[in-house]
Symmetry: C2
Subunit: 150 residues, 2 copies
């Protein structure tokens, strides 16, 4: 099954982003590259917000967010209630993110894991289905904070 | 240095929360336990939002968010712009979260890492200072999305 996948990174992760983009395109996915694409130092929140917006508008179904540790950009993406971004470093978490949280974005740390681990995480993420059931109410609360008691 | 630290978890992580709370109190920290504290199945967003609110109000300086994978509750905490929550599974990321992102909350997966690894992450998190400098502008953007270009 092919997807429309948005990729965003800061300057610390452009090489990993480019390699993942080529690999995803070769697998038949439609890739939306939201930058950055130069060596200049940029601010990861700018790119995280772009990715959140692409998920919110439906421009992309899934997203991959990259920075040095994956932490900063994962926080930025999750500022958008339409995004459910899981920072992962191994495939077990990438699968759980889909099964339990219906995650639509994964964040990876380009200075923390290598390209093959990154690909293994993305593969597990794209191939795992949301379990639904009791998880539905929780996922709805993630995008509708007013449904949680104060 | 002692801190006021808020802890929140769902039912999958109450044992780890209790052990971390005892350990933090023994180290002289002031611990605010936001629940859950029973075996009943609860919704992790409810507890993540409580933790974000405790950070927003200043009731706690730091927070520790726990669920089975750490993913769901980390997303919930990051819905609050006052919170900067890093999902980590090892101390290097816990330190980078403070140095680069001035993270005020870490999320841990109680079904992913053991108690000693969790303590090592918390220790590194509490003992590492924010680096400031170029990171300040990025951190400010995390709490003020309007400062990023559309």
């Amino acid at each position: 099954m092919s997807h429309r996948i948005a990729l965003a990174s800061d300057h610390a992760a452009t090489a990993m982003k480019a390699e993942l983009a080529d690999w995803l395109r070769a697998a038949g996915h439609d890739v939306l590259d939201l930058g950055t694409n130069g060596p200049e130092s940029v601010d990861y929140p700018d790119y995280g917000y772009r990715l959140g917006k692409a998920i919110e508008t439906g421009e992309a179904t899934f997203g991959i967010a990259l920075c040095g540790s994956g932490i900063g950009i994962s926080i930025a993406v999750n500022r958008n209630p339409a995004a459910r971004c899981a920072l992962v470093s191994e495939p077990l978490s990438a699968g759980l993110a889909r099964e339990h949280n219906d995650a639509n974005v994964i964040a990876l740390g380009a200075r923390m894991i290598g390209i093959e681990m990154a690909k293994a995480c993305v593969t597990q993420f794209l191939e795992t289905a949301f379990l639904g059931d009791r998880h539905v109410r929780r996922v709805e609360k993630l995008s509708n904070p007013e449904r949680s008691p104060a």
